[in-house]
């Protein structure tokens, strides 16, 4: 029982960065743009937040700056893809290389620096609930903020005019054009907003989870977020569940090792990736039919499989 609680608690904490990035990617993909640069936005966000937190002692300012840098990188991706018609995968990978280079160059001085991280703060009453309490309500502020971000993104997408514009840009872009809206502007805004959330996700990783900076620390979480959004069929609520699943799978290895169970950590580390592939395979056709139509065109520049 303790093991389960430990793994799930660490899963929520470790899955939160993926959750933020996944929420951002949901907005972007709902507008019809895949952003592999999410990985890069997270990396920039992680370093920027760490630098600000180390230099000013204010982690909240770090989150804000991290988000803004993530947004800037995604804006660049959006401009290339939407405005110049660039290949979405190539542009996304380019953003990753840009972020890798920048964070390597500017991050070297911050390896080993200490910061004031986000502290764990147990919510009174709620944290006393057996089982659920320690898992969800003995966390730090950025985790709690993500509980609000999930319904907020859902509300944005499905209950506001902005969300309608974003979803229409992804489903029937011609309908926007007919009604006098600028599809390109909507898409650029959606991708940029998604990049902000990815940057916040990176910030959560560096200043509320590992509490350290090291090169390439995002280590594929951004790519996981991109895949996660597909397996969550573009729903913010399901993204949340998926992110915790990933977090828990990543936490299982260290938790078992701490209990002296001799197991090769990489055999466990691989679980989330295999799991995603299996889920994508099982959901197969259902996911495809749920995809925003414009996104399908990105994916299906290749032929259908019949």
């Amino acid at each position: 029982m303790n093991l389960i609680i430990d793994v799930l608690t660490a899963g929520v904490r470790g899955g939160t960065s993926i959750l933020y990035a996944g929420l951002g990617e949901t907005i972007s993909e709902r507008a019809g743009v895949i952003n592999l640069g999410t990985e890069g936005s997270m990396l920039l966000g992680a370093l920027a937040a760490y630098m600000v937190a180390a230099d000013t002692g204010n982690p909240w300012l770090g989150v804000l700056v991290g988000g803004l840098l993530g947004a800037m990188l995604s804006l660049l991706h959006a401009l290339l893809v939407v405005w110049r018609g660039a290949n979405q995968f190539a542009s996304g990978l380019t953003m990753l290389f840009l972020a890798l280079g920048l964070t390597s160059l500017f991050g070297a001085a911050y390896v080993g620096r200490t910061i004031t991280p986000f502290e764990v703060w147990a919510i009174p009453v709620l944290s006393d609930i057996p089982f659920i309490g320690p898992i969800f309500f003995e966390q730090n502020a950025l985790v709690y903020l993500s509980y609000l971000a999930v319904p907020a993104v859902w509300f944005l997408l499905f209950r506001t005019k902005w969300g309608l514009l974003i979803r229409t840009a992804g489903e029937r872009s011609d309908a926007l054009t007919v009604n006098g809206y600028h599809v390109k502007r909507v898409r650029i805004a959606a991708v940029t907003a998604g990049g902000f959330l990815a940057g916040v996700g990176g910030a959560q990783l560096s200043i509320a989870y590992t509490n350290s900076w090291f090169e390439n620390m995002v280590a594929g979480r951004g790519f996981i977020a991109v895949a996660l959004v597909i397996f969550a069929s573009w729903s913010p609520i399901k993204v949340m569940g998926g992110a915790y699943l990933f977090g828990a799978a990543l936490a299982l290895g260290p938790a078992l090792q701490a209990r002296g169970v001799g197991i090769n950590q990489f055999a466990l580390h691989v679980i989330p990736f295999v799991l995603t592939l299996v889920v994508l395979a099982v959901l197969g056709r259902r996911t495809i039919s749920a995809a925003p139509a414009e996104l399908k065109r990105v994916f299906e520049n290749g032929p259908p499989t019949t």
């Binding site: 019809g32 743009v33 592999l36 660049l76 290339l80 893809v81 939407v82 110049r84 018609g85 660039a86 290949n87 995968f89 190539a90 542009s91 990978l93 380019t94 290389f97 840009l98 890798l100 280079g101 920048l102 390597s104 160059l105 070297a108 872009s173 011609d174 054009t177 599809v183 390109k184 090169e215 790519f223 991109v226 895949a227 597909i230 090769n264 990489f266 055999a267 580390h269 691989v270 990736f273 295999v274 995603t276 592939l277 994508l280 395979a281 099982v282 197969g284 056709r285 495809i288 414009e294 065109r297 990105v298 994916f299 299906e300 520049n301 290749g302 032929p303 259908p304 499989t305 019949t306």
Partner: protein, 355 residues
């Protein structure tokens, strides 16, 4: 192409006249100059001198006698990883999994080598490693191919995820079963000298580049002059039309991915038997992604892929020298690489040519 607004209307006046006035060479030159300028700004911001950095890179790339050798050796796996993108792209697919296919190819080659290199003659081991690399890379791509054909999982997503599975497989092997020294760095045992890929006599240039160039020419001919190559481009052009014309689309899709994976597997074998000689944690890092970008830069054409790979290899070599001479991290050069790609994406993209 997927994102153009409404019907693809005519280009704005200034752009179309600009296009007439500025030929490709000028647009490329402007793109690269902008990239260098942006990179200089970053270097200044970091407090280093751009002139010194460019000087270092110039010397390391074009002046030192060893540098051309290093570039050609670095280029071989990149070019093969790029060709691994070219072939599936012809059938309209995005193979983002060169990274994983390369690693699995290398694992297969290393497995064969670990089992045989101490008693079989070197040449035999080399042939076995090549075959193992081909099989390993192709098998890894086959997973993505089957996921696509049976379950309709998009290959760009599955190949991307499989990269991480391959990386974990590599780490698993070098941390436990294949670990040479339990107390030292986690690596596999080094390949015995007789089984290391030979150099072209006296030049120091590994045989890998020969394999890469031959592969590029072969891919060029196969895609251009064989029925299979023609069928792939029909599928890539319009799969529905291909199906109605009686082409067996699933077989074509799978075979294109398999050939791509095999090419990446060869890249992994060369990286193992010709460059690194042992598996380690950072083995072949990012070669697959760089290959994807090289293929994209060459607009998925096999012969220009060689040029694009040469450019990326030169940048990688320059990055290594930055670390030694200017005390800047080697990854700094990724910034320049990215700026060049951004400039190319932004300035020289033909509207409607995006794949």
């Amino acid at each position: 192409m997927t994102l153009t607004d409404a019907p693809p209307t005519a280009q704005p006046e200034w752009l179309s006249t600009g296009k007439k006035a500025a030929p490709a060479v000028v647009r490329w030159a402007v793109a690269i100059l902008c990239a260098l300028a942006a990179f200089s700004v970053i270097i200044v911001f970091k407090g280093a001198s751009p002139l010194e950095v460019f000087g270092d890179m110039w010397v390391s790339t074009f002046v030192r006698p060893r540098s051309l050798v290093e570039i050609l050796n670095t280029m071989a796996p990149i070019a093969l990883a790029a060709l691994a993108v070219v072939v599936p792209a012809r059938a309209g697919m995005s193979n983002v999994g060169g990274e994983g296919q390369l690693i699995v190819g290398a694992i297969a080659a290393a497995g064969v080598a670990l089992a045989t290199d101490q008693f079989l003659p070197g040449e035999t081991v080399m042939v076995l490693m090549l075959l193992a690399g081909i099989v390993g890379g192709a098998a890894w791509a086959a997973i993505a191919g089957m996921l696509r054909l049976v379950f309709q999982v998009n290959e760009a997503v599955s190949t991307l995820l499989l990269n991480f599975v391959a990386l974990d497989l590599l780490l698993f092997l070098i941390y436990q079963p294949w670990r040479e020294d339990p107390s030292g760095q986690p690596t596999s045992r080094e390949l015995v000298d007789t089984a290391k890929l030979p150099e072209i006599s006296g030049l120091g240039i590994g045989i890998g580049i020969v394999i890469a160039v031959v592969a590029a020419i072969a891919v060029f001919f196969v895609l251009k002059y064989t029925r299979w190559g023609f069928k792939l481009s029909v599928v890539g052009g319009n799969a529905e039309a291909a199906r109605r014309a009686g082409l067996h689309v699933p077989v074509l899709i799978l075979s294109a991915l398999l050939v791509g994976g095999a090419l990446a597997g060869i890249a992994g074998m060369i990286q193992f038997a010709g460059i690194e000689y042992k598996l380690r944690a950072g083995f072949g890092l990012q070669i697959g992604y760089i290959g994807f970008l090289a293929s994209w830069l060459a607009r998925h054409r096999p012969l220009p892929v060689l040029l694009a790979s040469f450019v990326f290899a030169a940048l990688a070599v320059a990055g290594d020298s930055l670390q030694l001479d200017a005390q800047l991290p080697a990854a700094t050069v990724s910034i320049l690489t990215a700026f060049i790609l951004i400039a190319v994406l932004g300035f020289t993209q033909k509207k409607g040519a995006a794949l």
